[in-house]
């Protein structure tokens, strides 16, 4: 499991993200009426057949091809169009009120079921596009001219370093990597933390602890547990990093062309987890970063710094949280009592993760990011998100010092809870009991 675990994890999340992004397995073609409008240029799509005979159709072209929609020309009679929607003959009716199509303000979409955000967005874009094309053609532009107006490019960030080097950079990629790493920290603090907790609980319920404690100080036992599991964690990570490097070099050796490198980007993309990251944004990330420039961008990342921050804050965060977990494991008598203590302790970590999402997208160098990358309970997650964007060394040192200082404080507190809790059986301890044990 040591080596297989991480691969399974990645596979799990990659497939979850894949399903979420590619996901709507809704193969059904949606039929949507579009009301008549005066000249729609380039319109092979809408037939002239007016009435209840939806024969000639065309799919809406979308960049992602997410929607499977057939556009039909709506009957001229408004009532019968609405009646068709009601009866389910068609799924919806885009009623473009302004026949001139100079504005789309008065466009409505009639439907029985409110479509998803993404679907709505695509419909919206399509209508907007049509309106623009309409406007162009009014100006007398030909189709090919209109096409040439569409810009294909996007802005490429060039990052300047203090010593004058210029390198390509991608905010999308950095957000993705930062967020991916933060996610790892978040997940693994929970996984390894509860490993520590379960181990403490097992020894307590088995009473083995009495035998051990007669040879070893409870504090040493606790520290041994925490450090032992940390070693397991690091071994896993190192195995993983080696694996990743091997994979990457394998990929670059065999080389590949213009196709998108999905496995790599998806594994770092937060997709499902992020409620602030919509599939659209995800898509845009993917589309701007194609394999061609991706390798170059990847080459430009401050790997050493990212890895160093990741390991430092992962270890610090794990140590801090696992000392909480160890104390809980020692305090409770059975696993059903765990919840009461787990909840408040995992809150800050979850909070940090939510902060990390907005930090990754909005302002990796903002005040919010700075504050929460200093606060020890959230810094392991938030600092790691910031890592790819480049964090000043002074901030890293300060934050890491705070983190490790609070670990030493917490481990002392937890040690006191552990010392008494591990030999206390019977009733479920309360917060008050724990406080008494600490004092």
């Amino acid at each position: 499991m040591t080596f297989l675990g991480p691969i399974l994890m990645v596979g799990f999340y990659a497939s979850a993200i894949y399903i979420a992004t590619k996901g709507s397995d809704d193969k059904r073609i949606k039929n949507v009426y579009v009301s008549q409008m005066i000249p729609i240029i380039n319109d092979t799509l809408l037939s002239n057949s007016i009435g209840n005979n939806p024969t000639k159709t065309k799919h809406i072209e979308t960049e992602s091809g997410l929607l499977n929609t057939r556009l039909l020309l709506a009957p001229s009679n408004k009532d019968s169009a609405i009646e068709h929607v009601k009866q389910g003959t068609v799924d919806g009716w885009i009623n473009i009120g302004d026949c001139d199509f100079s504005t789309i303000d008065s466009t409505n979409y009639y439907t029985l079921q409110t479509p998803s955000m993404i679907e709505m967005d695509i419909l919206n874009k399509w209508v907007q596009n049509r309106a623009i094309q309409n406007a162009y053609s009014k100006l007398g532009l030909r189709e090919s001219q209109i096409d040439s107006l569409k810009s294909k490019g996007s802005i490429i960030t060039k990052e300047l370093s203090k010593d004058g080097n210029i390198s390509d950079s991608s905010s999308d990629l950095k957000s993705g990597i930062g967020f991916g790493l933060a996610f790892l920290v978040y997940i693994f603090i929970f996984i390894y933390g509860s490993m520590v907790m379960r181990s403490a609980m097992e020894e307590k319920t088995n009473r083995i602890v009495e035998i051990i404690v007669s040879s070893v100080k409870p504090f040493h036992l606790m520290m041994g547990k925490i450090l032992g599991v940390a070693a397991v964690g690091l071994t896993q990570f190192i195995a993983w990093i080696v694996l990743a490097i091997a994979l990457l070099s394998g990929i670059s050796y065999f080389g590949f062309g213009q196709q998108k490198i999905e496995p790599l980007t998806t594994s770092n993309m937060p997709g499902t987890m992020g409620n602030t990251l919509s599939a659209q944004q995800f898509e845009s990330m993917q589309s701007t970063v194609d394999a061609h420039s991706l390798m170059a961008l990847l080459g430009n990342l401050p790997y050493f710094q990212i890895l160093a921050i990741f390991l430092l804050f992962f270890i610090g965060g794990y140590l801090l949280y696992s000392s909480f977990f160890a104390a809980i494991g020692a305090a409770v008598n059975e696993s059903s009592d765990v919840q009461q203590f787990m909840f408040p302790i995992s809150l800050p970590l979850v909070f940090g993760f939510i902060i990390a999402q907005s930090v990754a997208l909005k302002s990796p160098h903002g005040t919010l990011a700075k504050i929460f990358s200093m606060f020890p309970l959230t810094s392991p997650v938030v600092m790691v998100v910031r890592a790819p964007f480049g964090v000043p060394l002074s901030e890293i040192v300060l934050s890491a010092s705070i983190l490790f200082a609070s670990f030493f404080l917490m481990v002392w507190v937890s040690g006191r809870i552990y010392r008494i809790g591990i030999l206390s059986y019977g009733k479920k301890p309360t917060w008050k009991d724990l406080w008494k044990w600490i004092r």
């Binding site: 088995n206 009473r207 083995i208 009495e210 035998i211 051990i212 007669s214 040879s215 030999l423």
Partner: protein, 320 residues
């Protein structure tokens, strides 16, 4: 004989509750010491202090004359009352772990584990996980885990609870064998079954206090209340002036047995003479109370059974 472990005025309280009130006792080398007491008397607390798991609030504990410190636990074997082992670990790994925990080198640990597993015919189980073996087997492993480092002092909390009679006897033999090798054993129990046959010395703990201690014969002698048993082929009469109470019982082999509480002025000699005058005496013995009776008397505060002969249960008197 020097004491292997010795406590003097050991005091411990949890909050308001005093669980160990100035207890002093000593376990001599090569002896078995029994800690008797009802549930909740403070036996486990005392035992945990001996095993260096907790420390007394006041008073001191000495091991081989030195103030008890953690390092001494290397020379102790400890078996807690409620037992458990790592379920996912194999028998051999588990035992190796405990041996090393007690300061054995890897090599010594291996030798010792092998020796013990062979002794108990458990070699074939060495590679099995604890969850795969029977409960009785696991209990044996547990016992081995606390003796395999050859400890000078064995501390056993309720060692017989949870064992079936066969395994209990096995453990009993192992304990005796440990003593015969010159090791000392202190164990707690609230059951009397094995106490008299096993203990060289004992004390009774009640409500955190030591209410009684000594060797078995000492304690029993001390609690002798002048009760004798006389047996005849036929019913007889005793002169009432000499005898406080008596009770007659006809045994199924046709004998008549009288249990007699004598006046303190009476010597056994006097009673024997009176008894011979009364009839054809075929049986004469003093009734020394059993540890069980003494325990019940001390703990429950009940009168020694022999003082209210009316309600005496014959088996209890005969048991002594």
């Amino acid at each position: 004989m020097p004491n292997v472990i010795e406590t003097s005025s050991v005091f411990k309280a949890y909050g308001e509750q005093i669980v160990s009130n100035n207890i002093s006792l000593g376990v001599a080398e090569g002896t078995i010491y029994g800690l008797l007491g009802p549930n909740g008397a403070g036996k486990t607390t005392l035992i945990r202090m001996l095993a260096t798991i907790t420390q007394p609030d006041r008073g001191e504990i000495r091991f081989m004359g030195e103030l008890l410190r953690e390092k001494h636990s290397q020379k102790m074997g400890y078996m807690p009352e409620e037992r458990g082992l790592y379920k996912k670990m194999t028998v051999a790994d588990q035992l190796l772990f405990f041996a090393e925990l007690r300061g054995f080198s890897k090599k010594d640990a291996r030798t010792s584990v092998k020796k013990w597993l062979q002794r108990l015919d458990m070699m074939e189980w060495a590679k099995k996980k604890i969850e795969e073996i029977s409960k009785g087997m696991a209990q044996k492993v547990q016992f081995v885990s606390c003796v395999l480092h050859n400890p000078q002092l064995l501390i056993l909390d309720e060692p017989f609870s949870g064992f079936d009679p066969v395994n209990a006897d096995l453990i009993k033999d192992l304990i005796l064998e440990q003593r015969n090798q010159g090791h000392s054993i202190i164990f707690s129990t609230h059951r009397m079954d094995n106490v008299e046959s096993l203990c060289d010395q004992l004390s009774i703990i009640h409500n955190g206090e030591k209410v009684l201690d000594g060797t078995i014969s000492e304690i029993r002698r001390r609690h002798f209340k002048g009760v004798f048993e006389l047996g005849y082929h036929n019913p007889v009469f005793f002169p009432p002036r000499l005898i406080q109470t008596s009770q007659m019982r006809e045994t199924n082999d046709g004998k008549y047995t009288y249990t007699i509480q004598t006046d303190s002025a009476f010597t056994p000699q006097d009673l024997l003479q009176e008894g011979m005058k009364a009839g054809e005496l075929i049986h004469f013995s003093e009734l020394i109370p059993s540890i069980h009776d003494i325990f019940v008397e001390t703990v429950a505060g009940s009168k020694l059974e022999s003082e209210k002969l009316g309600s005496i249960h014959p088996s209890k008197l005969l048991a002594s």
